[in-house]
């Protein structure tokens, strides 16, 4: 245990005037997730001054140590945004000490956001301890094992969770949810959606868990439209076909992965809906931007395509607003309920 470093932290941070908006604790036992978490942290520290306490598990077997280091990160124009980062590298055997290291280093009176890099429904020891001083638990369904199991476990987990929470995959989908709400904004258009024949959703594929946002979007629509899940077929190249029913009418949803190096892995690229009277709604993401081209056509008319901006949730204020300040409402619970009925074997 390296007490000296902890003393250094105290010395360096006491008697200094610095703005902090919140504390951010980041925990993960998965080495492979380090880069992803770092990206998230950069999104935050580039805009907001905060104290980050990062806990990483030392994966080498038979080790018995805790290492602590402190660094400062300056960002923003002229480097006026300063965050300090306390990194704690800890062996499995020492994990129970971690909350005791964190606790005195939290900036008092400010929110404590806990980004949990593992499946929160599986982990119990550390999470239980840290819940007592955390304001909000932030996790990502994409970091869980089976999505079906995750969605099933989530219900009792959330019932027992005493703090606010947010699922990053759900938050990232908000731009698309809002866009759909804007596009399908009349009883007629909602009926097109509710009784459509087919929906094709293309998403940027790199790895199996990239399917999550597409699944969430499908399940969200299904739950909001009152569809019943009927059948699932996994086709070639990770393509999945889901069949839902609405009052005896079949609705086919195709989740079709595409390779797109420019798009963020997992992000929705196209959404195409085929409804009655040859009515087609096409929403296509534009390359290298958070914009979507909408084109609606039917037997009778063909509307002029138009471009919409998706609110940028991937960074800055948008990320903070959706992940830290919003809470998943009943739509999230209903979406999970819908997901729990489907076995998405493609998720690792």
């Amino acid at each position: 245990m390296t007490i000296i470093e902890i003393e250094d932290i105290k010395n360096q941070t006491q008697n200094s005037t610095q703005s902090y908006l919140f504390n951010l604790i980041v925990y993960s036992t998965c080495k492979a997730r380090t880069a992803e978490l770092k990206t998230i942290l950069t999104r935050i520290t580039e805009k907001f001054p905060c104290r980050i306490i990062q806990i990483e598990k030392i994966c080498e077997p038979n080790t018995d140590e805790i290492k602590v280091s402190l660094s400062k990160e300056r960002s923003g124009k002229n480097g006026q945004i300063t965050s300090d980062i306390i990194q704690i590298f800890v062996s499995e055997s020492q994990m129970e000490r971690v909350p005791f290291i964190i606790l005195p280093n939290i900036v008092a009176d400010l929110p404590v956001y806990l980004i949990f890099g593992d499946d929160p429904t599986s982990e119990t020891k550390l999470l239980k301890n840290m819940q007592s001083f955390s304001t909000k638990l932030i996790f990502n369904a994409a970091w869980s094992g089976s999505l079906k199991d995750f969605s099933k476990r989530m219900k009792p987990f959330l019932q027992n969770l005493k703090i606010d929470f947010m699922d990053i995959s759900w938050a990232l989908l908000n731009g698309w949810k809002e866009l759909l709400a804007q596009v399908f904004d009349t009883p007629l258009k909602i009926s097109h959606l509710r009784t459509c024949k087919k929906i094709i959703i293309n998403y940027a594929y790199e790895k199996p868990e990239d399917l999550i946002e597409a699944i969430y979007l499908t399940a969200f629509i299904a739950s909001r439209m009152g569809w019943e899940f009927k059948a699932q077929e996994i086709q070639h190249h990770h393509k999945q076909a889901l069949c839902y029913q609405y009052r005896g009418h079949d609705i086919n949803v195709i989740l079709d992965p595409v390779s797109d190096a420019q798009a963020k892995a997992g992000s929705i690229i196209n959404f195409e809906l085929f409804a009655e009277n040859a009515t087609v709604y096409k929403l296509n993401s534009l390359k290298n931007s958070s914009k979507v081209l909408l084109h609606i056509s039917s037997d009778e008319k063909c509307e002029i395509p138009c471009t919409f901006a998706l609110s940028d949730i991937n960074r800055g204020n948008g990320f903070l607003r959706e992940v830290f300040y919003q809470s998943p409402g009943h739509h999230y619970a209903e979406t999970l309920e819908m997901i729990s009925k489907v076995n998405f074997r493609d998720i690792k």
């Binding site: 809002e178 909602i190 914009k291 471009t307 609110s311 919003q326 409402g329």
Partner: protein, 514 residues
């Protein structure tokens, strides 16, 4: 204001609201406000994904112009004035196709007839459901006529008859020139519009820091419990600008600083500082409390006006080290102008909370700096523990900075380290910029969006406007009839006339040096 359709894809309880599909018609679309504020605001709303997908904007003005000419001008305007620049071409390519120009005189019935046809066509093209937002960015004298003609051509929907679509009118300040004209204007427009369809814009209310006043006061117990005459000594509200009147000489000669700033913006600030807690956060509950404040302000004594109201006009001087001319030398200003470019007031709010607490207001052009601030000065701590007859304790100050450098600071006394018991005032400072980084949305973005969602909280209600005119109209009348003999009475680049300092000195105070 009703929402016609509950969309199952929208989740209630989110902190952001989604605007209804609509067409916005801007009257006076070739004016400065459209290019500097309104269209950049619309563009920023598009960028932030806050504008409804089903939206169109029609510029209504007298000059001959094609749609494309109008769009090209707006493109330039966005490039110059938007907080998001340069213009994103992909967004613009769609957005420009939602913008149209409609040429007509404001008093030409045929123009309104054609407008009706245009809007109906746009409804079917853009799915805007017949919802209409009319922005009157014209000279105020046109307001009644435009509204009457909108009504005559069924462009305004009677709220009691048509429920599935809405029509609202945004009216730019000033709402009237004095009490009488404001009442006349109101009488004219209520023939055609319900109060819930009228949005009287006061862009100060769209500012993030002004909205934060309610949050600051009513979500922090510690401040609200000392927010009264037991603990507060006096309140100062300053709206200072270092710029002169620029090209607005003609307007300013008609208006003066009281009509331009004090009667509207400053009274909004004052009412937010002094109001009681609303029963809920609805528009009416908040505005009910605000109007009570304005109605409780003691009438200014016209027979001893100098002890409560000071006027000033800038002469030549220096701003930022540069020579600047006096008001009377500005373009379109009379050489013997009697118009005030500075005003200071001492007001009392006659209610239980504020009895005996003076509110000092000052607003001026060509002051040393641009600053809008509210300063709450607390009373002296009791006892003589840390002060002597010669050396009094510095009072606690709470400063709410509206612009620039938005934030809140608190001054308190602190012991200087060492063997003595010397006290030194220190400051705790919260700055929006240091914590939240990004620039908040412009006031007009918030206000346009609120009007589309039907939230009238941030718009002035008629009783607030009339109560404010009731207070200031007699003063303005007296000042107009009794010409100032000492104008210009302050040099550009100073904090106003000496009489304004004396207004506070007579009460044992001084203006806080900003």
């Amino acid at each position: 204001m009703q929402t016609p359709f509950e969309n199952p894809l929208q989740e209630s309880g989110r902190t952001t609201k989604m605007a209804d599909p609509c067409i916005m018609v801007i009257f006076g679309a070739t004016g400065d406000l459209t290019s500097r504020k309104l269209v950049p605001a619309l563009y920023n709303l598009v960028i932030d994904g806050e504008l409804p997908a089903h939206f169109a904007c029609v510029g209504f003005a007298r000059r001959e112009k094609t749609h494309d000419q109008f769009r090209d001008e707006l493109f330039e305007a966005i490039n110059n004035y938007s907080r998001n620049k340069p213009v994103d071409n992909e967004i613009w390519d769609t957005f420009k196709n939602q913008i149209f120009y409609h040429q007509s005189e404001f008093d030409d019935d045929k123009g309104y007839e054609r407008l009706n046809t245009v809007l109906t066509d746009l409804d079917s093209k853009f799915g805007t459901n017949g919802n209409r937002l009319y922005y009157l960015s014209t000279q105020p004298s046109y307001f009644p006529d435009i509204i009457k003609r909108l009504n005559d051509h069924s462009l305004i929907y009677p709220i009691d008859q048509i429920k599935n679509k809405w029509s609202r009118v945004i009216i730019e300040k000033p709402f009237g020139h004095d009490l009488e004209s404001a009442e006349n204007l109101q009488q004219e427009i209520v023939k055609y519009l319900d109060e819930s369809q009228i949005c009287r814009i006061d862009h100060y209310l769209g500012k993030e820091t002004v909205q934060n006043l309610l949050v600051f006061r009513f979500s922090n117990l510690i401040f609200e419990s000392i927010w009264n005459n037991r603990f507060i000594d006096h309140v100062q509200i300053t709206v200072g600008e270092e710029i002169g009147i620029g090209t607005r000489g003609r307007f300013f000669e008609e208006a003066g600083i009281v009509r331009d700033i004090v009667q509207n913006h400053m009274m909004q600030l004052l009412s937010l500082v002094a109001m009681e807690s609303p029963t809920n956060m609805s528009a009416n509950a908040i505005r009910n409390e605000k109007v009570k404040v304005v109605e409780s302000i003691r009438t200014l004594p016209l027979n001893a006006l100098d002890t409560h109201a000071i006027r000033g006009q800038y002469g030549k001087g220096f701003v930022d080290g540069l020579d600047v001319k006096g008001y009377r030398e500005e373009d379109n200003v009379a050489k013997d102008s009697n118009v005030e470019t500075y005003a200071a007031f001492k007001l009392f709010i006659d209610n239980w909370r504020w009895d005996g607490v003076p509110f000092y207001l000052r607003a001026g052009k060509r002051l040393p700096k641009r600053a809008t601030e509210i300063t709450i000065t607390f009373k002296q701590a009791p006892g003589t523990l840390f002060c002597t007859k010669e050396k009094k304790l510095r009072q606690n100050l709470l400063v709410i900075r509206i612009q620039p450098d938005e934030g809140i600071s608190f001054r308190m006394n602190c012991k200087v380290p060492g063997m003595t018991s010397t006290l030194q005032p220190v400051k705790m400072d919260f700055k929006y910029g240091s914590y939240f980084g990004a620039a908040p949305p412009e006031a007009y973005e918030r206000l346009i969006c609120d009007c589309m969602t039907g939230d009238s909280t941030l718009f002035a209600r008629i009783d607030e406007v009339l109560a404010s005119w009731r207070l200031f109209s007699p003063v303005l009348k007296k000042w107009e009839t009794e010409k100032a003999t000492d104008f210009p009475n302050y040099a550009a680049g100073t904090w106003g006339p000496k009489a304004a300092d004396e207004l506070l000195i007579q009460d044992g105070f001084h203006w806080r040096l900003i």
